[in-house]
Amino acid sequence: MSVGIGIVILGMALINIAVRCPIFLMANRIRIPPLVKDALAHCPVAVLTAIIVPTALHLDQAPDGSQWFNPDLVATGAAVAASLATRNLLATIAVGLGIALLLRHLPVF
């Protein structure tokens, strides 16, 4: 195992323990304020959207935005539509991945 990746994994494992365990371990001494609860509840949507949008616009490959119209953007649109229509995670993946693979191997772009 490379040292770099080992450290990344160790850190992730410690963070996961740090978010899960303290409340059970200090069972009688912890109260979470409603404001903090609300902020915690919004975390997944915020971080995942912040990953999805720049990736769909290929900003990681072309920060100037020159590749914004690309197969992954179309696949992202299709996955959002599939998700709204079915509310099903596996159906969303199937449609998104299907379109992404199809466009990658068709000479459309």
């Binding site: 195992m1 490379s2 990746i5 080992g6 990344v8 994994i9 850190g11 992730m12 494992a13 963070i15 996961n16 323990i17 978010v19 899960r20 365990c21 409340i23 059970f24 371990l25 069972a27 979470i32 404001l35 609860k37 609300d38 902020a39 915690l40 509840a41 919004h42 975390c43 997944p44 949507v45 915020a46 971080v47 995942l48 959207t49 912040a50 990953i51 999805i52 949008v53 720049p54 990736t55 900003l59 990681d60 920060p63 992954d72 696949a75 992202t76 996955a79 959002v80 509310r87 099903n88 995670l89 969303t92 993946i93 998104g96 991945l97 992404a100 693979l101 466009l103 990658r104 191997h105």
Partner: protein, 248 residues
């Protein structure tokens, strides 16, 4: 634990262990494709078998693991991966907060294991079970078997994914990486049911694009924090208006 919560005869350990597995089984089936996706993608991104399995064994968090390998592929610094892991998994503290009443009486070692192994799936299964059946002196054996079942399941399917990723060469750049983004899209869209969640998504998307040029993926962390703040403000405003509406 109040005596009134205890049925006349508490089910035995064995019955509790089996029932914990039974209520977790649908989630184990549901997690299987993601274990395979993770194992195959990690292999395609050139993580070794040991590195990939170490993640599934010790990190035990599908979304964080899949994000981590996609960030590792673009040479992201460790602190950004840790920040993202924290932001993605901090919801588990909410799960712990809502289950803590059922484990208060247990020994410290039990409370450590039950919290360290907590996932979305075990939370959903056990929260529902405690609500339906209440608790008794063997309930925590069902909690434990749910965790062990999820953990074994996740690691077996990761291994299957590694096998698939090793067999099929050239997965990298084939378009298969889009499975990750599609997974995230599904996770986000089904949560977009409140003005707060919509605000979080819109703000995060716009900010992430505006800040995309910042080094070390700092834009990702900043966009996330601004989006959470915006969503909390929208929720507070809605709550205040509700209170005013009720008063009028």
């Amino acid at each position: 634990m109040p005596a009134a919560d205890q049925p006349a005869v508490a089910p035995g350990r064995r019955a509790e262990i089996l029932d914990g597995l039974r209520i977790t089984l649908p989630f184990m089936v549901g997690a299987a494709p993601f274990g395979v996706i993770f194992g195959a993608l990690a292999t395609a991104q050139h993580l070794s078998v040991v590195e990939t399995m170490a993640m599934s064994l010790f990190v035990f968090s599908g979304s964080a693991q899949i994000v981590a390998i996609s960030l590792l592929a673009v040479a992201t610094p460790a602190w950004v991966i840790w920040a993202v892991t924290l932001i993605l998994n901090v919801r588990h503290s909410l799960y712990a907060a809502s289950l803590v009443g059922y484990v208060r009486h247990l020994a410290l070692g039990w409370r450590f294991i039950l919290s360290a192994g907590l996932t979305d799936e075990t939370f959903a299964a056990m929260e529902d079970r405690y609500r339906r059946l209440g608790m008794h002196r063997n309930s925590h054996w069902a909690f434990l078997s749910s965790i062990v079942g999820m953990h074994l399941n996740w690691n077996c399917w990761t291994l299957a994914g590694i096998a698939i990723g090793t067999q099929i060469k050239g997965l990298e750049g084939s378009g298969l990486e889009f499975a990750v983004i599609a997974t995230f899209i599904g996770m986000v869209v089904r949560r977009l049911r409140t003005p707060g969640a919509l605000t979080a998504a819109a703000t995060a998307g716009i900010m992430a694009v505006l800040l995309a040029a910042l080094p070390y993926k700092a834009g990702l962390t900043i966009a996330t924090l601004v989006a959470i703040a915006a969503a909390v403000l929208v929720d507070r405003r809605a709550a205040i208006q509700r209170i005013r509406g009720n008063a009028a």
